[in-house]
């Protein structure tokens, strides 16, 4: 008798179908070769074979690249402002532990002092079904940040691939209720659990890239003013937004209005501290030099966020390393910090 359940891989389609009665189901999907979480089309579960991780991180489901904040109309008696309608309930199937942790990290910002009214309802209504990695990338370094590629407590249910089946671990009450209603789910045997343990251990061992996070805040603090170091570090960066947009814990956004005759809307959209105009004011720009922007990015994630919230704002997913046009590597920068 174990505490876990299991489900056959070929029954996943049926399970997702049951869940789509109540939720909008999102699964890993490939469009033009780009892996991302997309609405399930109702039949295709081929992702089980090819899925490693998405390009667009899971944050996009809660903090989308673009969001309408409100709409307004100017009438004779003044402005009439309308809020967008509430979002549907999401079920995200296949979120990796790094991305699941990133949501917990983002929660800290979006609940601090003011409750963010766009992110939080989506987050509270969503169900996360985690899937442990079998094949971490060579750019992954989650284990250095206290995250296992194969296990997570930041999800509602945690799945482990044990061959023809997934082992299912209930993490939250929400997850428990969800799986209790599922018809294709069986009890797992002790052999299943042992197999899962092997799989998790193997995945953990495959994460070979490491960084030393001990005293990293202090190290960064001490070299903050070392312009020579940061200029060298920043030399090949081209100031695009790929690392920040694809980073699961980056959350900077821009707010813009649109006006068409007497009506319009206010949008928020992803922004990046790497862009040259990010801090530009009419009279001056404190970060006009590229090295200051690169320093800001590294220090915000590894020094300022820990100072404010007690956790490093990085989950080691490696997207920034994999997708950077010039292969700028944050792990190399952190390794070579002057003492």
């Amino acid at each position: 008798m174990t505490n876990s359940k299991k489900i056959n891989k070929k029954d996943i389609g049926g399970l997702l179908k049951e869940w789509s009665q109540e939720f909008t189901v999102f699964i890993p999907w490939r469009e033009s070769g780009v892996a991302m979480l997309d609405k399930w089309d109702g039949t295709d579960t081929g992702f089980i074979d090819w899925y490693r991780n998405t390009v667009k991180p899971a944050k996009a489901n809660f903090f989308p690249p673009m969001e309408e904040m409100f709409r307004f109309q100017k009438g004779r008696e003044g402005y009439h402002i309308e809020l967008p309608l509430d979002e549907h309930k999401q079920l995200i199937f296949g979120i990796r532990p790094c991305d699941a942790r990133s949501l917990a990290i983002l929660d800290m910002t979006f609940t601090e002092s003011y409750q963010d009214p766009y992110y939080l309802p989506k987050r509270n209504n969503a169900v996360l079904i985690g899937l442990g990695c079998l094949k971490p990338y060579d750019s992954c370094f989650c284990t250095s940040l206290g995250i296992s590629p194969a296990e997570s407590t930041d999800v509602d249910l945690m799945l482990t691939d044990i061959g023809d089946q997934f082992l299912v671990k209930e993490i939250t009450q929400k997850g428990k209720e969800l799986i209790a209603r599922a018809s294709q789910v069986e009890e797992a045997t002790e052999a299943d659990e042992a197999r899962a343990k092997e799989v998790r251990k193997a995945a953990y061992g495959k994460v070979t890239r490491r960084i030393d996070t001990k005293a990293i805040s202090e190290k960064l603090l001490s070299c903050f003013d070392n312009q020579d170091y940061w200029e060298k570090v920043a030399a090949k960066c081209i100031s695009c937004g790929i690392c920040t947009f694809l980073c699961p814990t980056c959350y900077c956004f821009d707010i813009n209005d649109e006006l068409v005759k007497r009506q319009g809307a206010r949008f928020r959209s992803w922004d990046s501290c790497a862009f040259p105009i990010y801090t530009k004011m009419p009279m001056e720009n404190p970060r006009v030099e590229k090295w200051r922007r690169v320093r800001q990015r590294v220090c915000h994630k590894f020094e300022f966020y820990p100072m404010n919230f007690g956790t490093i704002a990085c989950t080691g997913c490696g997207r920034c390393i994999r997708l950077c046009p010039v292969n700028w590597d944050i792990t190399q920068t952190l390794d070579k910090l002057p003492g």
Binding site: S113, D116, F224, F253, C273, Y278, T279
Partner: protein, 291 residues
């Protein structure tokens, strides 16, 4: 952080409804301070909000011209004179130009009051030295009127204010009133005078050094363009002010105003949430010229 140099809020903010939704306010008076700076007097359209709204000197708000954009400005009126509210805008970009095109009766969006405020409890019983440049007088003005309206709680008041030229002096009507006030030492200067200027000439930090207010039992409150701030702090240090005795209010590019969009940070501090009022001790630390 609970040291005495930290004057950020620590208050729990309870958002009612959607924090990004602006309230509608109506402009009821416009004053041209200079050729490119205007002060707007306004009030909430909603009666209930008019009565309920409170703020402290130093706080700012996000003002919107709906459809054009939103920008942060301090509330330049004092909470002791709250029949209406005021903010002062210099015409430099898209949103500020749109604001300047508005007339009396126009409706704009208002989100606030945000940020921390001047720590009145640390200022009471002290000699106050206000140092301001150009439009930097706007946030200090809220505090100066606040202090003058409760005059007996504070000791000496020195106000050292300067602008590039006589045409750039803001709040001239206030400068006159403070000049006539016997309990206030009003020192006005311009970087370069014109034919009719008979007052002092010189940069604010230079004049500050000449006036040389005593640092004993004193607090200095500084606001102005970043370059003025950077030159004023060393002068104050020379006069014997410790970093905890120097207070400033900073300006950074802002969007959300509530510490979410990430833009306005200086190190781990957000100007919109932990500021805009800081002691020099707070920001002197590890950030080099990020302000």
């Amino acid at each position: 952080m609970t040291s005495v140099t930290d004057i950020s809020h620590g208050k729990e903010f309870l958002a009612r409804g959607n924090v990004y939704l602006p309230h509608i306010v109506v402009i009821d008076k416009i004053i041209d301070e200079t050729y490119d700076t205007r002060t707007f007097h306004f009030n909430f359209k909603d009666e209930k909000l008019r009565e309920e709204f409170t703020f402290d000197s130093g706080q700012f708000a996000e003002y919107s011209v709906l459809g054009i954009g939103e920008a942060p400005f301090c509330i330049s009126s004092s909470p002791t004179r709250s029949d209406h509210l005021e903010f002062t805008v210099r015409r430099v970009g898209r949103v500020t130009n749109a604001l300047h095109r508005l007339g009396v009766g126009a409706e704009i969006g208002f989100r606030g009051a945000y940020g921390n405020s001047f720590p009145l409890n640390l200022l009471q019983g002290k000699n106050l030295v206000f140092v301001a440049g150009g439009i930097g007088l706007a946030p200090l003005r809220s505090l100066i009127w606040n202090v003058i309206d409760n005059r007996d709680r504070y000791k000496k008041i020195d106000i050292i204010y300067g602008a590039r030229s006589p045409a750039d002096l803001c709040f001239k009507y206030d400068l006159d009133t403070w000049d006539e006030d016997k309990t206030v030492n009003m020192v006005t200067t311009v970087d370069k005078g014109d034919e009719s200027w008979t007052g002092r000439e010189g940069f604010v930090p230079q004049i500050l050094e000449q006036v040389a207010p005593s640092a004993t039992n004193a607090v200095a409150i500084v606001c102005g363009p970043p370059i003025m701030i950077r030159f004023t702090f060393p002068v104050l240090e020379k006069l014997g002010f410790t970093p905890e005795q120097m207070i400033t209010t900073l300006e950074k590019r802002m969007k959300c105003g509530i510490g979410k969009c990430g833009r306005c940070n200086i190190g781990n501090l957000y100007v919109c949430r932990d500021g805009p009022v800081f002691t020099y001790a707070q920001i002197k630390g590890f950030v080099s010229s990020e302000y």
